[in-house]
């Protein structure tokens, strides 16, 4: 029989390493074991992937839709229905880190290709991923590497590779940026096939040796006739890269750090934790799964419950999953994708290459109203399968006092922990209506109404904003 602590810990793991899990799933996973669950999460191939045929049979327009909403909906479908939660969560991580926006790309299917590339390399080796990123047509166009020529460099990709994607500000010089840019000359996009008469085609990477500056370069103190892969090779080995990447992983999976632009002057909140991850990064030869194994098994992770403000994607998808508002192919993914946008996270369209501001900065008045109203809408809907399951679980406990009722609801929602003042307010509120009973039809229907309201109010709380 699973203990409260085991359920609570597993719930924390699934909220962070995935998009949350309902109570029944948590009990199965506790039975399997915490460490064993982590191993399963780190081995996505052991679980079925989303059924692509089914997805495209029902939503054929998702593949080629030039309306961003369709491509967003396709991704939301995967987030909601995945059996590989950590893989999909890492895709979100990479999208937030290697932020590429449709505002310039203007081609949602092409961005979906980039997301698919992240999915393929989600838990793999960082150098491999960086090389794929350097060859990704959307990224090349986004950071103008197609304008980076032998004898006339464009520094955009070279700079952001170092500043935002690997080492972080303060760990390289302007000359390093120029030399890195020189190394990536010739990494471009093949001429695009015109839209007429056959429609749109994906963009392709093309390496043009005649446009590549093959002369010697001096980068981070080393000299050689570096090409792009060589730069990446050097970069991934740097202590700064280990620190920066691991701090990003800490910020995303463990606890909210200060905003990224301040990282070169503000040390990590838990330097030892980041160092441990950094050590693993180097020891494992830059393998993401290895770092995450250490992360999820660590005490600092286990002790960080509710220290992360949910991103809109996490809040929206997590709510839909818990309430089982959507499952498999059905109408509704597009409005869920829109909801992420309205809450401030427009998937596939981060505001700039510096990505969204996370943590507390996800919240403003408008976003808060939407978050609260969205969650309340789902949790008050007693027809949804996830809510019915919660009602049935409560029913099986028989008559409940107000505090048993409140505890029961919190238990089945997470286990969600409320601050003591919040808890008291909830208790006072629900005590006004007395016990929960299921004895008569009238009682049962009253109780169901109260469950809907209670769950909606819990999801409206400040505490629900955290994972």
């Amino acid at each position: 029989m699973a203990t409260q602590e085991q359920i609570s810990l597993m719930s924390h793991l699934m909220r962070r390493a995935g998009f949350g899990a309902p109570r029944s799933e948590l009990e199965m996973r506790v039975h399997k074991g915490y460490e064993a669950t982590i191993e399963e999460l780190l081995d996505p191939a052991s679980q079925d992937s989303v059924d692509e045929d089914l997805l495209y049979r029902y939503f054929p327009n998702y593949e080629g839709g030039m309306a961003p909403n369709q491509a967003q909906a396709q991704w939301v479908y995967r987030m909601v229905n995945t059996n590989r939660p950590l893989e999909e969560k890492m895709v979100l991580f990479w999208h937030q880190l290697f932020a590429t926006g449709n505002s310039k790309i203007d081609n949602p299917p092409e961005l979906t290709q980039q997301i698919a590339m992240f999915r393929k390399h989600a838990l793999g080796d960082f150098p491999t991923l960086l090389v794929e990123l350097a060859k990704n047509p959307a990224m090349i166009y986004w950071l103008d590497n197609n304008g980076n020529h032998k004898g006339a460099i464009n520094e955009n990709w070279g700079r952001e590779l170092l500043e935002l994607f690997s080492m972080g500000v303060g760990n390289y010089s302007e000359d390093d940026i120029k030399e890195a840019s020189r190394a990536f000359t010739g990494w471009t996009i093949a001429p695009k096939i015109p839209r007429l008469p056959l429609g749109r085609f994906y963009w392709d990477f093309e390496y043009r040796p005649e446009d590549h500056d093959s002369d010697a370069k001096t980068f981070l103190g080393m000299t050689g006739e570096f090409n792009g892969e060589d730069i990446i090779d050097i970069v991934v080995k740097q202590p700064a890269t280990g620190k920066f990447l691991c701090r990003h992983l800490y910020n995303f999976f463990v606890a909210d750090e200060p905003q990224i632009p301040s990282w070169n002057i503000t040390p990590p909140t838990d330097p030892e934790a980041v160092e441990l991850l950094e050590q693993t990064y180097h020891d494992s030869k830059y393998n993401i799964a290895a770092v995450l194994r250490v992360l999820f098994n660590s005490d600092f992770f286990k002790d960080s419950r509710f220290k992360h403000v949910k991103s809109p994607a996490e809040l929206v998808v997590g709510t839909v999953r818990m309430a089982q508002g959507l499952s498999g192919p059905q109408v509704g993914y597009q409005s869920v994708a829109d909801e992420c946008t309205f809450q401030g996270q427009e998937l596939l369209n981060p505001p700039s290459v510096e990505s969204w501001h996370t943590g507390e900065e996800w919240i403003d008045g408008g976003a808060l109203v939407r978050r609260v109203n969205f969650a309340a809408k789902y949790f008050s809907n007693t027809n949804l399968p996830g809510i019915r399951t919660i009602i049935d679980s409560l029913k099986s406990l028989g008559t409940l006092s107000p505090s048993e009722f409140l505890d029961g609801c919190l238990d089945l929602m997470g286990i969600l922990e409320l601050g003591s003042t919040t808890y008291q307010e909830f208790l006072t509120h629900t005590s006004e209506e007395g016990n929960i009973s299921w004895e008569t039809t009238h009682d049962a229907s009253e109780s169901e109404r109260r469950v809907g309201i209670m769950l909606a109010m819990i999801s409206a709380s400040r505490e629900y904003q955290f994972a």
């Binding site: 961003p68 505002s103 310039k104 290459v353 510096e354 408008g366």
Partner: protein, 378 residues
């Protein structure tokens, strides 16, 4: 500046999708217009003339009427160099005043910050629509975004809660659980502050439709509903200085004539009703309405519609506006076109600067990112 003691107010109406300038203010006697628009041109006898060269689209009656009263400024040739002709990119450029790089700070966000530096009134800027347009987005600046005024608020559209008493109790509980609590950390404090601000703002803004009464019957169209909401909040005197809303889609690649007709019929009528409403309440003298779009459309039609262009048209409407036409209508001569499009001759940041400086009395340079030629429509 306004001539009264009331604070100046700006209503921005975004025409989303790129409104076709050539069929909006029509060079109806220009042979190039006829030659290039065999299928999509507006017949000369339908145009409402302004002068021998230019006239209004026949469906813009209410706007044309305001123009005759001298209350409409038409700004020709507005845009910026090297239009990407991409909706998303171009709209971002209009929202952030950054034609060269991807910007993240909205020009109206900066305006709201300058109007209300301490964020004292969460209703200083109100958007009617879903989500928050980038034009209004600026870190630390609270903006109220309302998708439906009648039901705006925390826990307002929760289908599972269908009685008043339940909802009131829930709102009461919400207010209590968002009360400041000591020792729960800065993020919880921030959430508390934000949540209570929203509650207060919602309480205040809810007054607007309740205290509103008017003889004007707006049409049952989305744009009319938006402008009516603007009127309700403006008339309720809640301190809102910037309103934002949008209508669309003006992206008439296909079947332009019937679509454009409906679009301008709806927009025109809504604007007409809006001004009648405000004038009925003597509340029109401190407000201007600004219409803009992200770029224009090609001179030559594509058979049933038009594709993306460059230079466009903007409008400023208001009782304090010095009506008339500003700038030159871009030339339609083939040699003067850029890639087949009307070449812009006036930077949109000058347009914004005119509003920010002359109407709102703020320093435009940090808001639009430079000094640009202003016009005297206010």
């Amino acid at each position: 500046m306004t001539s009264t003691k009331k604070d100046p107010v700006v209503v921005v109406l975004q025409l989303s999708g790129a409104n076709d300038p050539l069929n909006t203010i029509i060079p109806y006697t220009n042979p190039h217009y006829r030659d290039n628009r065999p299928k999509v041109g507006i017949p000369e006898d339908q145009v409402i003339p302004i002068n021998d060269d230019l006239g209004f689209n026949p469906n813009m009656g209410p706007v044309q009427k305001l123009y005759q009263e001298g209350k409409v400024a038409i700004i020709h040739g507005i845009g910026y160099d090297n239009s990407p002709r991409s909706h998303f990119r171009s709209m971002d450029i209009w929202h952030t005043c950054e034609p060269e790089k991807v910007g993240t700070e909205g020009w109206l966000g900066k305006v709201i910050r300058d109007l209300d530096p301490t964020g004292e009134n969460v209703l200083t800027g109100v958007n009617f629509g879903q989500g928050l347009p980038r034009a209004l987005a600026l870190r630390g600046v609270p903006v109220t975004s309302v998708s439906d005024l009648a039901s705006y608020g925390v826990l307002s559209d929760v289908p599972g809660i269908n009685n008043e008493r339940d909802r009131d109790r829930m709102l009461d509980l919400f207010s209590r659980i968002y009360a400041p609590t000591i020792g729960t950390g800065p993020v919880m404090d921030y959430l508390s502050h934000t949540g209570r601000n929203v509650l207060d703002g919602a309480d205040v803004i809810r007054v607007a439709p309740e205290t509103y009464s008017s003889t004007i019957e707006y049409a049952d169209t989305p744009i009319a509903r938006s402008l009516k909401s603007v009127a309700q909040v403006h008339l309720a005197n809640l301190g809102t200085k910037i309103f934002y809303t949008q209508h669309g889609s003006f992206d008439t690649h296909f079947n332009q004539l019937p679509q454009h007709t409906k679009l301008w019929t709806d927009v025109g009528r809504a604007i007409g009703d809006f001004y009648s409403d405000l004038r009925e309440h003597n509340a029109s003298d401190n407000l201007i309405m600004v219409l803009f779009t992200e770029f224009g459309r090609r001179v030559k039609d594509n058979g049933t519609g038009t594709d993306h262009g460059a230079g466009g048209i903007a409008f400023v409407i208001g009782d304090q506006v010095k009506g008339g036409m500003y700038n030159d209508y871009p030339s339609l001569k083939p040699a003067d076109l850029t890639q087949g499009d009307l070449a812009p001759n006036y930077d949109f940041r000058g347009f914004y600067s005119s509003i920010v400086d002359k109407w709102l009395g703020l320093d435009p340079v940090p808001i639009v990112g430079g000094t640009f030629e202003q016009l005297n429509f206010v």
